[in-house]
Every structure is written in structure tokens, then in C-alpha cells.
Subunit: 239 residues, 2 copies
């Protein structure tokens, strides 16, 4: 408590008459199910807007920074650690939350849709929606999702973040479908594969995935060490 006391003493002259606000953290959680991008939403359990769909969120606590708060919120809903997450934007319209002056810092997260704790999300009345038929969301959460989607699209072009959305082993076709979903357009199979191979950051396994064809498709892994080494040598991922 010492530092807090000291802070409060120091603060009297300059800070104390300033307005204080509540800060929320809201997370746009993306997943990918072989065909399309999905987001995880919860049915809100309290007023205002009780019963409507919303992003998962929580309030920033005194002893946390925003990244920690976002991780806490995400972990609470999915049971997952070590998730790719990025701060997106801070929303501050005066009446965005009709109940109280609250600002919200939006984060987006990419998760392997197969890995989260299904019990936990059921318990939290959460549900995956494909982006196309997601319900209308409370407050400014629709705008948050749109901004997250735009950011994801941009990032996916310059960083191999797509791997966060895939299982550890994946086929070239899955990778391509993911990029098609992110970029919102069809890609040419041959061009896509030869471009990706030119990066030389994938490991081709001996295993095949037999679930999608009779012939079977080779599985690949992302070679993160090699990627990092290449980046240090000046390589930049541009798809």
C-alpha cells in the first residue's frame, strides 16, 4: 500500500480534480472452421441490454494493464493461455454505454477453434457465429468487429498470423481457404502454393490428412524458428 499512498499524496495538486472514468476491455475472438471465419459472442447476462449478444468484456482493474486485462477476460471465457492478441482501438463516445460513462478498449484475438474449452463457453452462454450471420450486437460492438476484421485483413498480408487460427498441422488447402476467408476472395491454387513455398517457412510432414479426399493431402507445420531467423535476416512476409 505504500506506493499507492505515495501516489495519492503526489497527485493531490495536479490530478485530483480531473474526471475519472470506467474502462472496459472487449475482445473480438476470431476462429476458423475450415470454411469460414467465426467470432465468439456471449449473451449478455445483466442490464443494460440484458439478453442481447455482445463481445466478451470486462473492466480494467487497478493493478492490471490493458493487455493483462484482455488476457484475463479471454482466459475466463475460453480457458486458453498464450493467445495471439492485439489492441485494436479505444471507443469513447459519451453515450456508448447508456448506464455509465464507460470507455472500451477493443482487443482482437486469434484462436484455434478446436482448442478452447467447450464446457466453459457453454457455461458462459457463448456461441460461435460465422461473420456473415452474426447477430446485431450491443453498443458499438458491431463497429468493433468491423474494425477488427479490417485489421485482420491488413495484418494477414504482412505477418503470418494465419497460423494462429489453424491447428498445428494443416493442409495447403486449409491454409488457402483461410486466406480466402480473411481476404474475402478466391485465390488460385497454383499461385497460392508457389508463393507460399517461395517463403520457405513451412515444414512438409510425411503424414497425410485423409478426411477431405481419397488421395489424401499432405500435412504441413509452420516453421516458426525458421521464420524468425529469416525475419532477422531482413525477410518480410508479404502475401
Amino acid at each position: 500500500m505504500h506506493t499507492t499512498d505515495q501516489k495519492e499524496i503526489l497527485s493531490l495538486a495536479y490530478y485530483d480534480h480531473e474526471d475519472k472514468v470506467l474502462l472496459a476491455v472487449d475482445c473480438i475472438i476470431f476462429g476458423f472452421d475450415q470454411e469460414e471465419l467465426k467470432i465468439l459472442l456471449v449473451k449478455r447476462g445483466f442490464e443494460p441490454e440484458k439478453g442481447k449478444w455482445s463481445l466478451i468484456g470486462g473492466f480494467l482493474k487497478k493493478e492490471e494493464d490493458l493487455d493483462i486485462a484482455a488476457i484475463r477476460v479471454l482466459h475466463h471465457l475460453t480457458g486458453l493461455h498464450d493467445i495471439y492478441m492485439e489492441q485494436l482501438y479505444t471507443y469513447s463516445k459519451v453515450d456508448r454505454d447508456p448506464a455509465y460513462r464507460t470507455l472500451s478498449v477493443a482487443y482482437y484475438a486469434l484462436i484455434d477453434i478446436g482448442k478452447h474449452d467447450k464446457e466453459l463457453i457453454k457455461k458462459n452462454s457463448a456461441q460461435w457465429f460465422s461473420l456473415k450471420d452474426a447477430p446485431n450486437l450491443i453498443f458499438d460492438h458491431n463497429a468493433m468487429v468491423e474494425r477488427a476484421m479490417a485489421r485482420l485483413r491488413r495484418r494477414a498480408l504482412s505477418k503470418p498470423i494465419g497460423f494462429e487460427l489453424l491447428p498445428e498441422k494443416f493442409t495447403m488447402r486449409q491454409l488457402q481457404k483461410l486466406y480466402e476467408a480473411i481476404m474475402g476472395k478466391k485465390l488460385d491454387k497454383r499461385n497460392f502454393i508457389s508463393k507460399f513455398n517461395s517463403f520457405d517457412i513451412l515444414i512438409k510432414l510425411d503424414e497425410k490428412d485423409m478426411s477431405s479426399s481419397k488421395k489424401g493431402a499432405f500435412l504441413y507445420k509452420f516453421n516458426e524458428e525458421k521464420y524468425n531467423r529469416k525475419v532477422e535476416e531482413g525477410f518480410s512476409f508479404k502475401i
Copy 2:
């Protein structure tokens, strides 16, 4: 006061026990002086860190959203309205400000360095620094400047925001020097001009600028209407 009362009543059950914080807004103000990028800094007039250089900032007020607060802060220092401004990132390390738990939302702004109110900035003990020899800044302000620079570099490639930093009329050479400053590398004169001309969003004036050569250099203006029309037709600025 009615809405405030109502808010406070509604809020009791769900919001009242949450921690509240102070929210600051800090602005990275970029200018361009024919040769290099500069930022406007102020000597801080109060504790903590009194006398050190910092970004200009202020606290968010109850009745403002962040954009409005950033505009207010900027106007207070430069006297300027209608400035290009963009929210950058929210900084939240628990001890970023040793005096009080304060988060800061950073904004960056682009201004025509010739236009601001020189009296006003003197009165506020502010000063322009070239990015290279800017002093060390308080708190996490150095990180803010770096992030702003990275954002500016990225944005300048996909939007013609450079014009915000130039006077209304400019020469091709000035435009090129600005892009060189933003991108941190020399560009080829012929390639630069022919690329820019291919966009067809400049108006060549009959006037010449005689200040930099005996021959004189034609002045240009940015054709914003034409640019906007083109964007609507699907044109995208990529330099």
C-alpha cells in the same frame, strides 16, 4: 443533469464497484520543414517530471469523447482547427505515470508547419524538434513517438496524407522530399514523378516557386475532389 442522474441509478448494481481511472490524451504532432520531419514538444510545467520534455497532453473530461479531447488539446497549443488526426494506441502500464494511475490514449496529428500560431507555442514553452535530435521524453512518450512514426510510414503508403504536412501549393521536389523523410530513404526523381502523375490527383498551376532555383519549379495543388471521386470508383492510392 437528468441523464447523469439516471445513469447513476442504473449503474449502481453492476458498475459501481469497478475501479475508475484517469484518462489522458497525448498528441504526437508532426510537421515538415522542407527537409525533415519534426515533432512539437513542450517543456512540462508541473510535477512529476517538471522541466522535462514531453508530448502535449491533457485529461479527458466527462462530457468529451477522445477525439474531441485530442482536438481540444491540439487547438490549445497550436491555435489550429481541422487538423488531420488519428487515434494511435492506448498506453496502460500500471506505473507509467508515477504520480497517479493514469492511462493515456495517444493521437498523432499532421500539420502544415507554416500555419500554427507561433506566439501560442512560445507561450506554452513548446518547440519543434527534428526527429533525429529530439530530446528524451517523459514516461512512455518515446514509445508513443516511435509508434506514431511507424503508423505514419504505413499510412503514407496507402493514403495521400502527406498533403496534410505541406502548404497548399508545393513543388514536386518538396513532395518527393516529404516522402523521402517519411520513408527514410532516397527516391528516384523520375520514378517518383511518373508514379505520382499516373495517379492523376494533382493540379499543376501556372505559378512557379523561385526560391530554390533560378529556373523555378512549377507549383502543384492536391485535387481532393478528384481524389475522392476516384476512390469511390475503386481507385486505391498505393505508393
